[in-house]
Symmetry: C2
């Protein structure tokens, strides 16, 4: 049982509340979840878990970024998704078979909450509302993966990059330049887009040549979101 008012519990419930999975839950529920939760600190590059590891629970990111990926026999890394502050992931842990299906590594110094499997399962049995939320969360992961399968197989790198950039423009119809600060190095971003750094670099160069973007170090500037969006539509629509 958690002691109400306990300082650590309080800090954890605050983080939990900021996670979409748990927003709006009554304080008592949050405290119950906090009671089965432990905080983990990760240095950049640390592995949180590996494919096949016994799944001890699922995670909520308090601060930082975690890269979920698979490593092939040839050592290549296929990025499945990058989760950031407030995201939850690895809900798959709650169901048998209990091994994680992929690797997870911190892309920067991060702090995550591990919501322990046994504890949360017991809670879920008592609180169907929570179970439905977990269903919702997993369903949104499924949607992302379905989208990604299409992305990776159907679109070329140029289209994927255009899409990625447009998604980051607050108002893609406008002509006002938008600055985008890269939070990772370009090799990691290339991997997120399902390609390698060379191809990524060439595609950036192409866009630069088309005066669609400007690149200065880790700052990308979309010169005209509207034009970029037009290119994207052209690529998709034909």
């Amino acid at each position: 049982m958690s002691t109400l008012g306990d300082l650590k519990t309080f800090a954890i419930t605050n983080t939990l509340r900021s996670c979409k999975l748990f927003t709006g839950l009554p304080q008592t529920d949050l405290a119950n979840i906090a009671a089965v939760t432990v905080v983990k600190s990760l240095e950049k590059g640390d592995y949180l878990f590996h494919e096949g590891d016994a799944a001890s629970g699922f995670y909520v990111i308090q601060r930082g970024a975690v890269n979920i990926h698979r490593v092939t026999a040839t050592g290549k890394e296929q990025v499945i998704h990058v989760f950031r502050t407030g995201d939850s992931f690895a809900e798959v842990a709650l169901a048998a078979p209990t091994g994680y299906p992929a690797d997870a590594r911190a892309l920067e110094n991060s702090q995550v909450l591990l919501v322990q499997k046994d504890g949360i399962l017991a809670l879920l049995k008592r609180q169907p509302e929570l179970a439905l939320r977990m269903l919702g969360s997993m369903s949104s992961h499924l949607r992302v993966l379905v989208g990604q399968i299409e992305d990776l197989t159907v679109k070329d790198v140029e289209t994927r990059l255009a899409n990625w950039l447009v998604k980051r423009c607050p108002n893609p119809q406008s002509d006002a330049p938008v600055k985008i600060e890269l939070t990772t190095n370009k090799r990691v971003l290339a991997a997120e887009l399902g390609t390698v750094s060379e191809t990524f670099s060439r595609t950036l160069a192409k866009f630069r040549g088309l005066k669609l973007i400007a690149v200065k170090g880790k700052t990308l500037t979309v010169l005209s979101p509207a034009k970029l969006r037009a290119l994207l539509k052209r690529n998709l629509g034909e």
Copy 2:
């Protein structure tokens, strides 16, 4: 309310029981689910739903096969998964946002059960055990998708086909030939493997040349599962 002993309900509960999602549930639970379930018959080629359609529930296949896919702007179809008798799919319907994320089409004449969203949600609220099963089911779909992302991006067609064939050999270490009957035409199978019929055909031809398989109409014979497995390992391991 369903009348217990009602013939239709009885038929439905029998199907439900054969679905992994529901096996072992007590008869009363099954009857409750049956009460919110409707049977749908599909002709080969019929669409069950399209991407973006309001999701009225999830499905259990009683007989036949359903192809889940996305259609791109260029009209190309990317197969996400093929579900068969006893499988459940589109559990994603239970969570908002309510549109289906892909298209579903019958690959052959089929009969499916639609477990209606509203009804099952009400049940889930009362029966957390059921909610946990749904979590399990979605989590296994997640695992499949994660595997597929790796498949599609990392492996070449030869490796994907070898993998597909080996999976269908009861004992892949053995040297005893295995017959595999195709349940669809080769274009559909090619799409499942993330390629087109021409490339699929060439890859079959290659395997035939290597005496790994024999092809006669819709019957593939793996001449030596062990040899095929060796090729697969070679492709993956280097």
